[in-house]
Amino acid sequence: MTAMLTAWPFVIAAYAVTILGTLGLAGWALVALRRAEARADALDRRPQATQAGVR
């Protein structure tokens, strides 16, 4: 029983490392994607705005 109880902190630590690592990786990839797409969209809109301003 003692062995079973002492095993749980190791199990929880391993699950925490994996879940936090996966969430961190997915979050980082999502933020990088949003930023890159926002920059590309802003640049797509820029020439049209400049042309409109000239007119």
Binding site: A7, F10, Y15, A26, L33, R39
Partner: protein, 244 residues
Amino acid sequence: MCEFLLMHRFANPVRFQRLARPLTAWFGWSGALLTAVGLLGGLFVTPPDYLQGETVRILYIHVPTAWLGMAGWTGIAVASVMQLVWRHPLASVAARACAVPGAVYAAICLMTGSIWGRPTWGTWWQWDGRLTSMLVLFFLYLAYIALASAAGREESGQKISAIFGLVGAVNLPVIHYSVLWWRTLHQGQSIGLTGSSIDRSLLWPLPLSALGFTLIFASIVLMRMRAMLAEAKVEARLKRMARG
């Protein structure tokens, strides 16, 4: 021939983006659902192992992360072949997109293995064949990431990264057969193509969590590829604007 035509069908970034956008979300959410079911089953439904007790539950995260650590480098090697042989325009993007997720999962595999080893073997680390070859894979990832980021979008630099990706693939069979070549601390292969030595009552959450983590990995790789393509588009546009 069919695969060759399919491969070149998605050489066009616009066509790729059209397919990648819905797949990113689909892979991400279905992967999260499968992983949640697999991990909850592994934590609360399966019985403890007669020998390892509760620590056997680490199996449901350690095995998928080990598989993904190796799958990431397999992705790099396949994309490198596509880049060097067929000059596929998305191949180097795909290879670079696999690197960081592969490195993270190789690191998680090493950490969860170490956490498993402490109560099971009585030590956090041993210079055992499987553990050492997995650590080598992690260092190969770090070297590849450094090399690919230094190379940037230059063709010669990308070629060097691709060659490094192929050479590094030599470590994959070493990892796989290490438990047979050096019978040290790490247990032998318990899951093969023909069956498993693990009891069914313990085994069922493993395919769920392995498939779930694989789908999450695929979603992350697609996000990385889309981000890199968007960055390349911005860079090309800025260069054109600078030229006037």
